[in-house]
Each structure stands twice: as structure tokens, then as C-alpha cells.
Symmetry: C3
Subunit: 212 residues, 3 copies
């Protein structure tokens, strides 16, 4: 019962963290005000909307009046108070891992609650975390982070989603959230610090990947 | 009762204006025939389809047999009869404002009719107007207009959507349509004529925005 | 009755062929492992997911546990066993025609089974075939194949979708599948071999199209 009622506020929190992060990042990249709000709102809401549509439901972010205003405020807060922190690599990685890890967790959890198969829950976890950011990258005509040689960015989320789904399904939701965020953070952090390339096919040359 | 039955033909008209405009613009940019039809149909239908999916409904443009053929014809008409008018700035701005303003209006109105909160209605109004055009920009690998330093393009629609939702909710639908189109037109027109930049964050330098 | 039960396994087969092709193509373009899996899975699943959402249904690829794992395996098979064949033009065109033709067919057939109008079935056939590939092109920040001067690529699918819908509606599903794949293949093959440009508007100059 409490499990059933859990996703709503956690969903809102996860989306707000993502919107705050995206608003800060957009302003630090010198987007004008409208572009910053667009980036924050779409990064925050986009993945959750896709997830709900793929589960055949009306997106909660549309039907529930609290979502859009909250996420808009989070994006503005990010742009005003956090944009100067974005060039600090540690802050950037912590914020991004929190945003992505919690979106992976809530995306997969909503799917599991809805009775989706495990494979679909992993897919929807990754989709919830990445879809909004992909839209923003693509609209700004940048190569999406997920398509770059990006230090275990996508691969880290895939591992995090696996960890989340299995721990949540067999053990406990909150432990799964913590392990998922920790996994995404560690793989991002160490792959950047130690310059691990994205996992490659045998015989591929890192420097020649289409990514980067 | 008439209010309930109003959106369908107005929806079709708004989509057709957008398709006509997009067909004309695509041919004036020298797209081949298939690309022109693609641009017209997607600009016309894309936003309304997204809106209906986000409201948890089957898109009317799929279920109603009249939509796709009508919008295809509008795109072809635009490409044949209007493509030479596109380089005339006044005609371009009038047509774009009519297309965007009426899509904002119908998008927000369908959302309000469906019982969506005001914030969601504003979001869906903007989404209905911009989603189709964003897809076309992105598929043609151009930086989407909405992400450029674009003279109050996005900001103008945001203001227009606010105006529409409040006038429609508290006063009258038709007055709201007229004011919404007029707002989008005036902000576009004067921002281009007088070269107003997109609204910026304090301390931002216009010339250095990531938009162009 | 058999007609009703037909789309599921044919849907899975069509998606798997597309995933296999996209996995092979992505590795031949030197994508890292995660990007290859992303390209394969999204090209395979994306169009069918869009189709089901546009028909107001929960996508079968989410609700049915067999889809995501099967398509993932197909993408991996493609990347491992077929990537070296991609530079051979004949193999590439045969595989692409098989993938696109069968996706057009299943997309349109599911729409017809669902009671969609003929125009919507053609639209959804083309959408099922192209949406996933467009996402991958766009995320990798390439001009989507569909927007290029691309030798009857888009136009060929439009013709193929017309052929499929009319033959399937008035004659027989399997004959329609064969004719649709054959049409897509022939138009692709001969337009590449004989260097036919995309159909143009009167007075347009091939070399100056915005497509490339």
C-alpha cells in the first residue's frame, strides 16, 4: 500500500532534480531564458512522460497539476543558484548521477508497479533517465551525450538499471535506489577520472569511434 | 455543446494552415517532393498527435479519416502556390503567426476541454504548436528554431499560450484565439523588425549565446 | 482468426530484422558497444512503439516480455556476424529493403486490423519503418536518411506503403508483404544503381537541393 503510493512524490523529486541540473547546465552553456526553461522542463518531464505513454497511461505530469509548476521552479532555481557550479567536475558528476540515477530508479519502479516484464522495466528506466536530455541535445543540434564516446555514460546507466531492477524486485526499493545512484555515480566518476573509454567491440580503435 | 463540438474542425483548420505554411517553406528551401510532403504533414499533424497521446487519447488525426488527406492536400497547396511568397518577410511572419497561434489555441483548448490543469494546458498549447516543426528541423539536421537566439520566437509562444489559457478559461474561446494569434504575431513581428534579442539572463551577452 | 493472430510473430520478426540490420550498420560505422545496442534496439522497437501509441494502445514491445530480449539478441547477432557485409552494396540494399519493407507491412497491417482508415494505415506503415532509424540518425547528429537527396529512399517507402495497403485490403496479406518488400527493394536498388534522384518539384535543380 505504501509501496503503491510511493512513486508519486519520489517521481516529482527525481524530475525536479533533473530539471534543476538541466537548468543550471543550460544557463552555464549560455542559453537564453526561454531555452533554459525549455531544457529544464523537457529534461525533467520528457522521460517520465514517455514512460507513462509507453505503459499506456495518461502521463502523471499532465494530469496532476503540481508537476509542471514544480519542475519549472526547479529549472529556474537551477539556472539562478547552481549555474556557476557546473564547471566544477565533482559537482557536475554528483548532480548528474543523482538526477540520472533517481530517474532510472523511478522509471523502472513505475514500470514494475504497472506489471511490466523485467526487460521492459530496465528499458523504461533507461528511457526515463535519458529521453528528456536526448531531446534537449538534439534540439540544440548537438550530438547527444548518449551517442558520444562518453566514458561509460550510457553503459553506466544500463548497469545501474540492471542493478535497480534486480535489487528492487528481489530485496527492497530504497536499497535499490541507493545502489542504482551509487552505480551510475561510480561508473561516471571513475571512467572520467581514469579516462576509461566506452566499452568497445573487439578490434575497435577508441580514437576512431564515430563517437566523440 | 457547441463548445464541445468546436475543436474538431478548428483543429483541422489549424493543422492545415501549419501544413500549408510548412509545405511552402520546405519547397522554398529546395526540399525534394517527398521531403516537402514530410515537412508539411509532420508540422501539421505532429503537435496535435503528441497532445492527444499526452492526454491519454488516440490521436484524432489517426482515428478520423479526414485529417491525413486534408493535411496532405494543404501541404501540396502550400508547396505549389505559396512557396514564392516565403522570402517576403511580412507574408512569412503573418503565415507563421497564424499557423503557430491557432495551433497554440487549439492545443490548449483541447487540453482544457479534457480537464487538464491550467499549467498542463499552457504546456500542451506550446507543444502542439512547436513539436511538429521541431521534428522537421531536427530531421533536416538544423538547429531547431526554438533553440536559436530567435527574436522572441519561443518566448512569444509562451506569452501567447498564457494569454490564450486565461482569456479562454475566464472569458471566451474566440476572443482568446484572436488575442493569442495577435500576441504571437506582434512579438514575432516587432522583435524581428526592431531586432529585439531573446530575453536573456542578467549579465548574459547576446552575441555570445549558444543560440545564433 | 488466423489473421488476427498473425501480426504478433510477424511483428517480432520484422522488428528483429530491423534490429539485426541496424546493429550491423552501427558496428560497421564504428559505434561503441552501447551505441550499437542503442541503435539496434531503437531501430527495431521505436517505430512499432510509436505505431501502438498512435493507435491508443500500450505498445506490445513493452507489455510482451519476449520482445526486448529478442530484439537485443538480434542487434548483437547483427553486430557480431553481419557488420563486415555492410560495405557490400547489394547485401546492404537487400537487408535494408527486407527490414523496411516488412516494417511498413506490419505497421500498416496492425493499423488496418485496429480499424484505422486507409490514409492512417499508410502513414503508420511509413512511420513504423522510419521512426526508429530517424531517432538513431538524429541522436548520432546525422542528417536523417529520409531528409537527404536519397535516391527514392522515402519516396520508395511511400509507394511501398500504398501498394501494401491496397493489396492487403483488397486481396491478401502475404501477397501484399511480398509486393511491398519487392517495391521498396526495386526502387532503392535501381535508384542507386542508375542514380535516379529523389522526385523533384518542376524547375528544381537536383544539385542544389538542401538534401545532400
Amino acid at each position: 500500500m505504501t509501496t503503491e503510493s510511493l512513486p508519486l512524490w519520489f517521481d516529482l523529486t527525481a524530475m525536479s532534480i533533473a530539471a534543476l541540473f538541466a537548468g543550471a547546465l543550460a544557463r552555464s552553456r549560455n542559453f537564453p531564458i526561454y531555452g533554459t526553461l525549455f531544457a529544464g522542463v523537457i529534461t525533467g518531464l520528457g522521460g517520465g512522460m514517455l514512460r507513462d505513454m509507453l505503459l499506456g497511461k495518461e502521463p502523471v505530469a499532465i494530469s496532476n497539476a503540481i508537476f509542471i509548476p514544480t519542475i519549472l521552479v526547479a529549472a529556474i532555481m537551477g539556472a539562478i543558484f547552481f549555474h556557476k557550479l557546473m564547471p566544477i567536475q565533482g559537482v557536475f558528476l554528483v548532480m548528474r548521477s543523482l538526477a540520472l540515477g533517481s530517474l532510472v530508479a523511478i522509471g523502472a519502479q513505475v514500470a514494475l508497479n504497472d506489471g511490466a516484464p523485467l526487460g521492459s522495466a530496465i528499458f523504461l528506466g533507461i528511457g526515463t533517465a535519458t529521453f528528456g536530455g536526448i531531446i534537449v541535445d538534439v534540439v540544440a543540434n548537438q550530438r547527444a551525450t548518449i551517442a558520444k564516446q562518453a566514458h561509460w555514460f550510457g553503459s553506466g546507466m544500463l548497469v545501474g538499471a540492471f542493478v535497480f531492477v534486480f535489487v528492487s524486485y528481489y530485496i527492497n526499493f530504497w536499497l535499490a535506489v541507493v545502489l542504482c545512484i551509487a552505480t551510475v555515480f561510480c561508473l561516471s566518476f571513475f571512467s572520467v577520472k581514469r579516462n576509461w573509454p566506452s566499452p568497445m567491440w573487439p578490434g575497435q580503435d577508441v580514437t576512431s569511434t564515430s563517437g566523440d
